[in-house]
């Protein structure tokens, strides 16, 4: 794996994780202030922009590598998102959820390595 491929994989993963956090924030704000305000639309626009970046990076990677090769990295996103949601969004994270997320990640990595 070349350095460029590694960089592209990390970039698509990071933009995907950030997009999820931004979108979650946006949708939570709709519970209090509804959909028609600048806060909501700017957050959704930011989230969609990040997802678009992640989408095209993944599409480019898919042309060079097999889906099965790229999947372990998508598996890592489970751990990333669970941890960042707990830290950034202050969501409750208990032992059962943590073990569940770790098992899912490990399982996805196993599925794609074999």
């Amino acid at each position: 794996m070349s350095f460029l491929a590694f960089f592209l994989i990390v970039a698509s993963l990071l933009s995907f994780v950030m997009a999820q956090l931004v979108l979650k924030r946006a949708m939570e704000s709709t519970r209090k202030s509804g959909f028609l305000n600048l806060k909501f639309s700017s957050r959704v626009a930011g989230g969609i922009a990040l997802m678009t970046i992640s989408f095209f990076l993944t599409l480019g990677l898919l042309q060079r590598f097999d889906l099965s090769y790229l999947y372990p990295f998508q598996g890592l996103s489970v751990i990333f998102i669970t941890v960042t949601a707990a830290v950034v969004l202050k969501e409750k994270l208990n032992l059962q959820l943590t073990i569940g997320a770790l098992l899912i990640s490990a399982g996805i990595v196993l599925v794609s390595l074999s």
């Binding site: 949708m27 993944t58 599409l59 998102i81 098992l103 990640s105 399982g107």
Partner: protein, 197 residues
């Protein structure tokens, strides 16, 4: 002694409580206090059930007066979103491989994948899954919704096995089993909470 926590819209307060014998598995309700605690003894896990009488609060501590059901049920939308992603993954791989030009200057961005109609169908499905995912985010915390949405990662190899007749190795079956156990662990407290609300 076990830690017992009380939810309020702004913060959570916890205290240590000595539980009567045999109560660790069952609902523990202190009259005069506006909270109930439920404990699963196996993992010493605590699940906090918010007050039921006044406004009830869901897991994100938001009031949930108009919790939709039927087609608007967030769990149904989560399943729909996963299904759309599953189909779009197959379409994307087919489409991207059909029109791959690894030597062209812009190939690293993947934009030439847009030449394939299959990629456009995949984009439509991704937009549909995105809309239902946004809906899911409105009601379900990310720490629960996202791990559950990754069920798609075992549905892809299972789909290859069922529809394309591909071989699944022992190691891959082990991975699928791990994901299923993980999903069950994430989903279990939710099932208990949903039951009581």
């Amino acid at each position: 002694m076990i830690r017992c926590c009380r939810n309020s819209p702004t913060h959570t307060t916890c205290e240590l409580i000595r539980l009567p014998r045999r109560s660790t598995r069952h609902c523990h309700y202190r009259s005069g206090e506006s909270y109930r605690c439920v404990f699963a003894s196996s993992l010493r896990l605590q699940i906090i059930i918010p007050p039921l009488r006044e406004t009830s609060f869901d897991m994100t501590n938001q009031p949930m007066r108009h919790r939709p059901s039927g087609f608007g049920n967030p769990w149904l939308q989560l399943a729909l979103s996963v299904l759309c992603v599953l189909v779009s993954e197959f379409l994307l791989k087919r489409g991207a491989a059909d029109v791959a030009e690894p030597n062209s200057a812009w190939s690293w961005t993947g934009v030439n994948g847009l030449a394939s109609p299959l990629v456009w169908w995949a984009i439509l499905l991704i937009i549909a899954s995105f809309v239902s995912w946004l809906y899911v985010l409105r009601y379900i915390p990310l720490t629960i919704a996202f791990p559950l949405s990754r069920v798609v990662d075992i549905l892809v190899p299972l789909g290859c096995w069922i529809f394309l007749g591909e071989f699944i190795s022992t190691l891959r079956w082990c991975g699928i089993a791990l994901v299923v156990i993980g999903l069950a662990l994430v989903a279990k407290p939710i099932a208990q909470i949903e039951e009581r609300l």
